[in-house]
Amino acid sequence: MIEGYLRSDGRKGIRNVTIVAYLVECAHHVARRIVDKADDPDVHLVGFPGCYPNAYAAKVMEAIATHPNVGGVVLVSLGCESFNRERLRAVVEASGRPVELLVIQEVGGTAATTKAGLEAVERVRAGAAKTPRVPMAVEELVVATICGGSDGTSGITANPAVGRAFDRFVADGATCIFEETGELVGCETIMATRAITPELGREIEACVEKAERYYTTMGFGSFAPGNAEGGLTTQEEKSMGAYSKSGSSPISGIIKPGDLAPTGGLYLLDVVPDGEPRFGFPNISDNAEIVELIACGAHVTLFTTGRGSVVGSAISPVIKICANPETGRRLAADMDVNAGRILEGQATLAQVGDEIYDRVIAVASGERSVSEELGHREFILTYKAFEPVGPACLPTRAQSVLA
């Protein structure tokens, strides 16, 4: 059974992390020093580097700071940046979590703020430790998936195996999120037929078309040189493989970074900004997507890789599923699940799907994932711009309001 941490909004966490958040790059070093000196696997560094305001970054930081896996927050501000630190503190306070704010220019510089920050971490951790533990059902889990360092094996082993696990979680009533519409270019027509309403189907096609336009303006698809070395030739070939992570359940809606899915079921996270391309590539690397999935409430992220990625994440554990048997041997100590066995005839897709499902339950029950154990706590947040999702994107919202 999963023993969750009960938060005041009724959501439950599988971890009780204290975050130290820098609100501009100028406060990054001090925040990192505080986390380094705290030397606790459950004290994590997060932050936003920009000095200019950005509604998306503010929304994601609020979602991260009130994520069910987060028990308390220490904010580190330089003092002159435009990030609204008072608002973020108020949002965390309203959630019932302990929160402290340190302004480097007021506290008196690097050494003084590092010392004050360590003391703040101690107090916040002590407050977070009082969080009640309660039983947590599988249907209360939010499970996300992403692929990184994909190759020609990803789409035949690890990705469809995650799809099998997703189908089981959706059948259990849990929320599952898949993403990266730029890596679904070419699948939009097939995907639209799985939408629970025709209007949602049209929204799915529109959001993939938006991704294609955006990436065309950027001059590159969501396609790295390593993808080609691994046997993938085109964006749509990579997409078809990536798409299989979604499994075969109906698609219940589209959400955007920082939105919570209104019900259980399978949701598509639209990660490509709205409007004219402004701040560059939609997600500059895999961890930017993982942060967005976590901002949508993900307790755990299933990360499939063929070439071999080693990343983890702050806040929510990342579970690594290796698609390629050769990579699996070379990077064995970085992987949770070896899906490459499927290619060598040693396991079936269904068996690996079950293994992934069981691994999620074990990690949700407190076991550390491999990347967690290795100390991976990556976090990256940059500038983006989004419009709110339209009503056709969430046909389940009315249902959840009635319920």
Partner: protein
């Protein structure tokens, strides 16, 4: 050991699941052919003869078009096919010769 697998009956390419060496006998539509080149795991070969302009079908779905012909068992990759959406890039294109 199986070197090539068919993912969907409509596909006109096969996926390499164990390393292929020059001269290995590859089972494709209509019989076996010797491999002309070494091909690593994850890559594709033509299931039957493909002509320039043919749609390449994998997972039962189009994943691009041929820009040059390929014989059965021949490697299908960036030298003979392209995206129907967005051009793919390699390190040589981005940063000069690797």
């Amino acid at each position: 050991m199986t070197q090539l697998i068919l993912l969907h009956e409509d596909d006109n390419v096969l996926v390499v699941v164990a390393p292929v060496e020059v001269g290995d006998m590859l089972t494709v539509a209509g019989g076996t052919v010797p491999a002309r080149e070494g091909i690593t795991v994850g890559h594709k070969v033509a299931r039957h003869a493909l002509a320039a302009g043919d749609k390449v079908i994998k997972y039962g779905a189009p994943i691009g078009s041929m820009i040059a012909p390929a014989e059965p068992g021949e490697w299908v990759h960036m030298h003979n096919m392209k995206s129907d959406y967005i051009a793919s890039h390699t390190r040589a294109v981005v940063g000069g010769a690797a």
